[in-house]
């Protein structure tokens, strides 16, 4: 067994934040369900606005509790509650968490590959005498053959444009890759105890993250207003927005965490030996980076 530098393990006293956090999630989830109940039953239209308010309330509770909780962790860290033994727990925990996130993205990449390799060729490959999808060719990108979906007609939008790799997407790749370098630079500076470079590096990383999100916002806006590409644009639209959307959501979370870390760097919370908070967020950022590379290759490029 690894020798523990200290033999004291810190067990925090009771905390009310996790249970209130769960109440926040419950409120948010039920609010969402009420707000969209109208989709399946017009009689439930009256639930829409209370649902929205519940959602907002739930989101506020959830965010507040996450910040409270993390605040408690930071306080404990600053009062030297965490030594080598606890630090190792956080490390293993963070790695496992990132693994679960990888599995989450695998579901959507799996979906993309399934559609491209199996469902679209299958739909195009039926016997000409019996196929309901005449003239449908197995090409990618594809919006599918069109047809009736649960009683509503889904028409393929012939004028739709697909995303191109060598525009905003390539710029975004550059931005994220650079941010991966700047955060590593900041980490080196932290280890060498060079505070100016550390803060500069972190600042650059945050700026690059925000720039990425801005580019993505422009891209989405273009897609909806000029290209006719929406969530409802068949296989391509669904996989494109689902993959880039969840990735963008993770970038948003990552950027918020980076900002917190930047503030903590400026306050001098981290020492060259003791900075798991920094490293955990850096790992997360690299993970987001790698997912983007997968997206760039399989969603935009190939």
């Amino acid at each position: 067994m690894a020798s523990h530098l200290e033999n004291q393990y810190f067990v925090p006293h009771g905390s009310i934040y996790p249970s209130i956090l769960s109440v926040g999630l419950l409120t948010m989830a039920s609010g969402f369900i009420f707000s969209v109940a109208i989709d399946k039953s017009k009689d439930l239209a009256y639930l829409q606005s209370p649902g929205k308010w519940m959602m907002i309330l739930g989101a506020v509770i959830t965010t507040a509790m996450v910040f409270k909780w993390m605040g408690a962790v930071i306080t404990e860290s600053l009062t030297n509650k965490y030594k080598g033994w606890e630090d190792k727990s956080f490390r293993i925990g963070m790695i496992t968490f990132i693994c679960s996130e990888v599995a989450f993205f695998m579901a959507f990449f799996g979906t993309l590959f399934y559609m491209r390799i199996i469902s679209i060729p299958d739909l195009a490959g039926y016997d000409a005498d019996i196929t309901p999808y005449k003239n449908f060719l197995a090409t990618w990108p594809s919006q599918g053959p069109g047809g009736i979906v649960l009683g509503n007609e889904f028409k393929v939008n012939a004028g739709m444009e697909f995303m191109k790799p060598w525009g905003l997407a390539a710029i975004n790749t550059g931005l994220l890759l650079t941010s991966g370098a700047t955060i590593t630079w900041a980490h080196w500076a932290l280890i060498k105890n060079n505070r100016t470079q550390l803060i500069l590096g972190m600042f650059a990383t945050v700026a690059l993250g925000i720039a990425f999100l801005a580019c993505q916002a422009v891209e989405y806006h273009e897609a909806y207003t000029h290209m006719g590409l929406t969530l409802g644009s068949g296989a391509y639209g669904a996989t494109f927005f689902m993959l880039t959307g969840f990735h963008g959501f993770h970038v948003t979370l990552g950027t918020i965490m980076l900002i917190v870390i930047l503030i903590r760097c400026m306050k001098g919370h981290f020492t060259p030996e003791h900075h798991f908070g920094f490293e955990g967020v850096a790992w997360y950022w690299h993970f987001v980076d790698v997912v983007w590379l997968g997206l760039f290759i399989f969603v935009y490029w190939l």
């Binding site: 067990v11 996790p18 249970s19 369900i33 594809s142 053959p145 979906v149 969530l231 669904a238």
Partner: protein, 530 residues
């Protein structure tokens, strides 16, 4: 090693009392107790639902309920039993016993542990709320697709489906958080000298379970999220018109769903050998072989998923691959069975209640595994699929293999947890009633399925009447026998003969070196293991 292993915010011990104790606790035993209590309550709730189903099936024709309501009961029964009864029971034992078994002061991430539990009651509310809302005229009740969420039915369904989707999300977060905690605890909190290959089998079972959860639960979360966007945001993941495929959902679901059946069982395969060794009074046979088999099963379980929908249409090479890989799982499983039996071989066995459950479990779970082998045969499955044969198969694995295994664990560890002995005579009566009633309930269902009775349908052809009547009567007997279990637990918590520290004559392991019940902080000094 005589240093203390626990520190706190302040050097005081005024723990909050009443409800605040439970809402805020970071203590692994408190959290374990909450998991186990929650599991027992939800077991009774899910059981009550299924008695409604069996009552409807007592006679052909529709007697008690509308088909829609029948289907809602089926789906919610399954979701509750799997996610709110069986999984929390295993996690409850993990919380209680893993720190005791590996000589740790507590779980590694105590606050996260608390959150893992407190996600469960909200998810139970989400699962059952639609029933209540329907009573007030809001919506048309709970999810009516069965626990498998297959589109297009799940895309059409009412708000019950949305509630179930979010329940699955919360349950998923809970499971992933619990798994992270267990993985960290097992890697970082073991007593000095306890190498991985000296860990108790229960810890091994849970380690692999936790890996499976981390790898597969997020895929389920992704799948139900796509369902949600298909329902509300116009995506076409599961409709052919947009280039999607409803069968893709089945792939995604069962990529999680098949490992899930091992997630439910691996913890049980962990502690059953410990029970067998205790009451056979000889060391566990084939520790290494068992560990490797657990790994093999864990690894194989993620590559066999499509055996759940052979009949949905697949290329022949895919059918063959999924058939043979599924059958391959029986090999490591057979190794485990051999080790379990060999552990008892020529031991000086006694049959206290935990041992009765453990031995009965081997036989009944064996039937579950063997019938699975039959189902894995593509040609045969064309007849069995979606019939009561499948229902009987997975109840032999999940009720006998899962719940009865958990019951063995409850009787085994209850004296350690409460400090009192339970009523042994009542325990034995409970075992025999459960075992007999269980077989009476499900053996007829094998024959009903072979004869062609489909599952998830509230009505049936009259030639199936007698067997359904037997099954229903036995199901009620099975249900009411569980009240003995509850009574026995309650009485044991309240009082009873004092339990010794070791409780069982043949018990081995660190948990038996502590007092019964163990002190609030388990190992304030980490023991050294040779």
């Amino acid at each position: 090693m005589s240093t203390t292993t626990i520190t706190h915010d302040e050097e005081h011990h005024d723990h909050p009392t009443g409800i605040m104790r439970w809402l805020t606790t970071t203590n692994h035993k408190d959290i374990g107790t909450m998991y186990l209590t929650f599991s027992l309550i939800m077991f009774l709730v899910g059981g009550a639902m299924v008695l409604g189903i069996r009552a409807e099936l007592f006679q052909p024709g529709l007697q008690l309920m509308k088909p829609e309501f029948y289907n809602q009961l089926i789906g919610v029964h399954a979701l509750i039993m799997i996610f709110s009864a069986l999984m929390p029971a295993a996690t409850g034992f993990a919380n209680w016993m893993i720190p005791l078994q590996i000589g740790a002061p507590d779980m590694a991430l105590p606050r996260l542990n608390n959150w893992g539990f407190w996600l469960l009651p909200p998810s139970a509310i989400l699962l059952t709320l639609p029933f209540t809302l329907a009573l007030f005229g809001i919506g048309d009740g709970a999810i009516a697709t069965g626990w498998t969420f297959y589109p297009p039915l799940s895309v059409q369904g009412g708000i019950g489906v949305d509630f179930a989707i979010f329940a699955v999300h919360l349950l998923g977060i809970s499971s992933v958080m619990g798994s992270i905690n267990i993985i960290v605890t097992l890697f970082n909190m073991r007593a000095p000298g306890m190498t991985l290959m000296k860990m108790p089998m229960f810890a091994w079972g849970w380690l692999i379970t936790a890996f499976l959860l981390v790898a597969t639960i997020p895929v389920l979360a992704g799948a139900v999220t796509m369902l949600l966007t298909d329902r509300h945001f116009g995506t076409h993941f599961f409709s052919a018109a947009g280039g999607g495929d409803p069968i893709m959902f089945q792939h995604l679901f069962w990529f999680f769903g098949h490992p899930e059946v091992y997630i439910l069982l691996l913890p049980v395969w962990g502690f059953i050998p410990q029970i067998l060794q205790t009451f056979s009074r000889k060391p566990m046979y084939g520790y290494k072989a068992q560990v490797y088999s657990l790994w093999a099963i864990g690894a194989l379980s993620v590559v066999v998923w499509a055996h759940h929908f052979f009949t949905a249409g697949m290329p022949v090479p895919a059918l063959l691959y999924f058939m043979y890989s599924t059958m391959a799982i029986s090999l490591p499983l057979a190794v485990l069975f051999f080790c379990w039996i060999k552990t008892m071989w020529r031991g000086s066995m006694t049959f206290e209640t935990p041992m009765l459950f453990a031995v009965g479990w081997i036989i009944l779970f064996g039937i579950g595994g063997l019938t699975g082998l039959v189902l894995a045969d593509v040609a045969a499955d064309a007849q069995y699929h979606n019939s009561y044969f499948v229902v009987a198969h997975f109840h032999y694995t999940l009720f006998a293999g899962g719940i009865m295994g958990i019951m063995a664990g409850v009787y085994y560890w209850l004296p350690k947890m409460t400090g009192h002995m339970y009523n042994e005579k009542l325990g034995k009566v409970h075992f025999w009633l459960t075992a007999i009633a269980f077989n009476m309930t499900f053996i007829p269902q094998f024959f009903l399925g072979l004869a062609g009775m489909p599952r998830r349908i509230p009505d049936y052809a009259i030639q199936f009447t007698e067997f359904n009547e037997i099954s229903t009567i036995a199901a009620f007997a099975l249900g009411f026998s569980q009240l003995l279990f509850v009574y026995n637990i309650v009485m044991c918590v309240k009082g009873g003969k004092k339990a010794t520290d070791k409780v069982w004559e043949g018990a081995v392991g660190l948990e038996w070196t502590l007092s019964s019940p163990p002190p609030y902080h388990s190992f304030t000094e980490q023991p050294t293991v040779n």
